[in-house]
């Protein structure tokens, strides 16, 4: 049994932590958010130079050959700084889908570009009528003479404004909710027929509504077999959920630490408010919430490692663990955010203080790829439907 990060993981964790501490203070982050593009390209280049963008990719593409555990190590530290540069969109999701893809040409073209920082990517899946069921897809890719024509609208595409390339989930066959018939296409953000309307999101990042109007793509832009896109998505989803939860955990730990510190310095009734048992017990609860979330994260990592070593064990345990993790992180994240604000009192409501900004990122993570209820229902289906 071993719940320690490896020496190598500690090194990369420390390097991200150092960056957040020395170069990504709250004012710097605010300036980046207020800037035209809303991200700092110089920092992105630096992430590439430091090797952070290569973490989960195979060595044959120039990657670090890392596991989801390495990714988690990075994400937790990025969470502590609520870093807005699109690591999740580009490396975790876009890169994750490419890693799971079977189209060798696409992989060898795009993965090196992610690693050297020259390609930012997004995954366009959500549609106006869909909620958390990714297979609820109405965007169509109909067969034409040299390939497919994509038509439809995607909403809240994270990082859509900066992305060079999009992975688009579109239906090549089947009905709206069918899992079969969904295909993933690599589409250039500036391809004819693609129009992108972007907006800021509360977590300091951005998202876009993207419409596809007879966007022509060829077979060579398919990530895998036509109609089998959900297989790729399913394969990557546990890693995405683990990485997002790790980011959330970094935020939760930070919120708790800031709040505990604040209560030691804030005086009311002639004493630090940390001396009130009513508040002490609540901070004990949020501390326990954070520890329990961490345990589920480590549980998910152990299950993921087991599957990586021996795929024949199947993903049932892993899926249960990641649904439990995402549901718990959402529930406890909400608790921790709300308690951080409450225990700060009036100052917790201000835009000037950092805690509101941590809370907003947590809130965004909470709904990304499913909220607490969604994941708890999936957990129920996996656990009880055969009883």
């Amino acid at each position: 049994m071993n719940f320690e990060f490896s020496e190598e993981q500690v090194m990369i964790k420390d390097s991200v932590a150092r960056f957040v501490r020395d170069e990504y203070d709250f004012d710097t982050r605010r300036k980046i958010i207020d800037s035209e593009e809303g991200i700092n390209r110089d920092f992105w280049t630096m992430f590439a130079e430091l090797g952070w963008l290569s973490v989960p990719f195979e060595e044959q593409y120039g990657g670090f050959g890392g596991s989801v555990e390495d990714l988690v190590a990075v994400m937790e530290e990025l969470g502590k700084g609520i870093v807005v540069e699109p690591y999740v969109s580009t490396v975790v999701i876009f890169g994750g889908l490419l890693s799971a893809a079977t189209n060798a040409d696409l992989k060898s073209t795009y993965i090196p570009k992610i690693i050297d920082g020259s390609c930012l990517g997004s995954f366009a899946f959500l549609e106006p009528q869909s909620r958390f069921e990714i297979a609820d897809i109405a965007t169509s890719a109909t067969v034409g003479k040299d390939g497919y024509a994509i038509n439809g609208t995607k909403t809240v595409v994270f990082n859509g404004a900066s992305a060079d390339s999009l992975i688009v989930a579109a239906r090549t066959s089947g009905e709206q909710f069918d899992r079969d018939g969904i295909s993933l296409f690599m589409v250039a953000a500036d391809a004819p027929g693609v129009s992108i309307h972007s907006y800021k999101t509360m977590d300091g990042q951005s998202a876009s509504t993207i419409s596809f109007n007879d966007v022509l793509v060829t077979e060579s832009q398919l990530l895998g077999a036509a109609g089998q896109g959900m297989e790729i998505v399913d394969q990557v989803m546990p890693n995405i959920l683990l990485a997002l939860s790790a980011e959330a955990l970094g935020i939760m730990a930070t919120l708790n630490a800031i709040t505990v510190d604040y209560t030691k310095t804030r005086q009311q009734f002639g004493t630090p408010i940390s001396s009130f048992q009513a508040l002490q017990h609540r901070m004990v609860d949020t501390f326990m919430a954070c520890e329990q979330s961490k345990s589920l994260l480590y549980r998910g990592l152990c299950d993921a490692n087991k599957v990586a070593v021996d795929p024949s064990v199947g993903t049932a345990e892993l899926l249960k663990s990641v649904h439990a993790l995402k549901a718990t992180v959402a529930k406890y994240g909400k608790l921790i955010g709300e308690e951080a604000i409450q225990i700060h009192g009036g100052i917790g409501i201000t835009d000037e203080l950092n805690i509101g900004h941590y809370v907003k990122r947590l809130m965004t993570i909470n709904v990304t790829f499913g909220d607490a209820d969604f994941h708890q229902k999936k957990f129920n289906q996996l656990s009880y439907s055969s009883l």
Binding site: G270, Q342, I349, T350, G356, M363, D371
Partner: protein, 394 residues
């Protein structure tokens, strides 16, 4: 036991309903929801002037000063109808906070000078109690007012002052005596916001709006005639009205309305082809709230009934404040849950229209700002302390 209304009460209810239906038109509603800019001030003042013209602006005041003379039941009916119609309450600082202090403890001159202008919404008031060092421990305040030749010289800093940017007047608790028990050296002072030495600094909040401010006093001269009652007795005057303030925080009618809206939206939002309102888990979330609200409605009625029988709102008003704010916050939470991905999208050029789910941006703002409800008006922790001490005798 019953809550049957008399024929007269029902007649009154119909009159209130008809008045709201004809006077609170879509235009007023729209400008009121437009945010917290000058538009908001104009719209709410215009609406309050209509209420004033009808004679309904101050149901809580004694009749002699401009109150309605309604029974407790009528006041309850009025509030219920207001909430059901989705009409925001009046701005409380003048009508519900400072006016009762003035008509209870003020001089005849003060009553004549201030009350009519509060009734007619000519003056906008704000509340200058909290300070950086004095929040829950309000009596620790140290904005000073030094008495010097018919004037007080006021120095200090008030914080979290809601809508100070609109205000003509501020009512303040200030320290007039030092070497006494801290509650005993406090006075209640009315200050013209145009006084030289008074300045206002905005504090942006996490919902992206501007309602909070700092108010600074640098050698501001305030005439002695603006002191309420006796010097050093301000704490008593302020405290007498806190219970009233808290009773108003149950906001049952408003929560009922929000919940009704939420149900409608849940019927329109779809997941996996099914409306969210048909989702058994979502139904449980809704009914958790609705059952709490059903209870609170009757808890409030019980408080009203005991007030009608001559009682004063006591420490049980803390219960109304805690439960009322917890319920409104849980409605905000569920609204945001319903908004899913769309809650996080900030309104920019066209984004709202393109996104659909129009309620989502508002859901986020309500959720974020709504966190404050358990902080202001005496935090919910402090209210629990009140119940522990005054009700349970702990």
């Amino acid at each position: 036991m019953d809550i049957n209304f008399s024929a007269q009460d029902l007649e009154f209810r119909d009159e209130v309903r008809a008045f709201f239906a004809s006077e609170y038109d879509a235009k007023v509603a729209e400008s009121l929801s437009s945010g917290q800019g000058e538009d908001y001030k104009e719209a709410i003042v215009a609406w309050q002037k209509k209420l004033h013209a009808k004679g309904w602006i101050a149901p809580g005041w004694p009749k002699e000063y401009g109150g309605t003379g309604w029974s407790v039941t009528q006041k309850f009916i009025y509030e219920t109808e207001r909430g059901a119609a989705g009409i925001p309450d009046v701005v409380p600082f003048g009508l519900k906070m400072v006016a009762p202090v003035i008509y209870t403890f003020g001089s005849e001159e003060q009553k004549a000078k201030f009350l009519p202008r509060i009734l007619s919404s000519e003056d906008w008031w704000c509340q200058g109690y909290s300070e950086p060092g004095a929040g829950s421990d309000l009596a620790a305040l140290n904005t000073t007012a030094e008495y010097a030749g018919d004037n007080y010289i006021v120095n200090g800093r008030k914080i979290w002052t809601t809508f100070a940017q609109f205000a003509d007047w501020i009512f303040c608790l200030v320290r007039t005596s030092k070497d006494v028990r801290k509650q005993q050296g406090i006075s209640f002072l009315l200050i013209d916001m145009n006084t030289p030495g008074v300045s206002v600094k905005p504090i942006p909040t996490i919902d992206g709006k501007h309602s909070l401010n700092e108010v600074l006093f640098e050698d501001a001269l305030v005439p002695r005639e603006n002191l309420i009652g006796e010097q050093d007795k301000g704490w008593t005057y302020a405290k007498a009205l806190l219970a009233h303030e808290r009773t108003g925080m149950a906001e049952v009618a408003d929560s009922k309305r929000m919940l009704a809206n939420l149900k409608q939206r849940a019927a329109a939002e779809v997941n996996g082809g099914q409306p969210m309102i048909a989702d058994p888990v979502f139904q449980m979330r809704l009914s958790d709230i609705e059952m709490q609200l059903m209870a609170l409605e009757y808890t409030e009625l019980r408080v009203f009934a005991s007030m009608a029988a001559g009682g004063m709102p006591g420490p049980e008003s803390s219960l109304l404040k805690i439960k009322g704010t917890e319920i409104s916050q849980s409605i905000h939470e569920l609204q945001l849950q319903l908004a899913a991905y769309y809650g996080g999208a900030l309104q920019g050029d066209l984004s709202n229209q393109q996104l659909g789910h129009e309620f989502a941006a508002e859901a986020r703002k309500s959720y974020m700002y709504g966190r404050a409800a358990s902080i202001y008006g005496g935090s919910n922790e402090v209210q629990r302390n009140v119940i522990a001490k005054a009700v349970l005798g702990l």
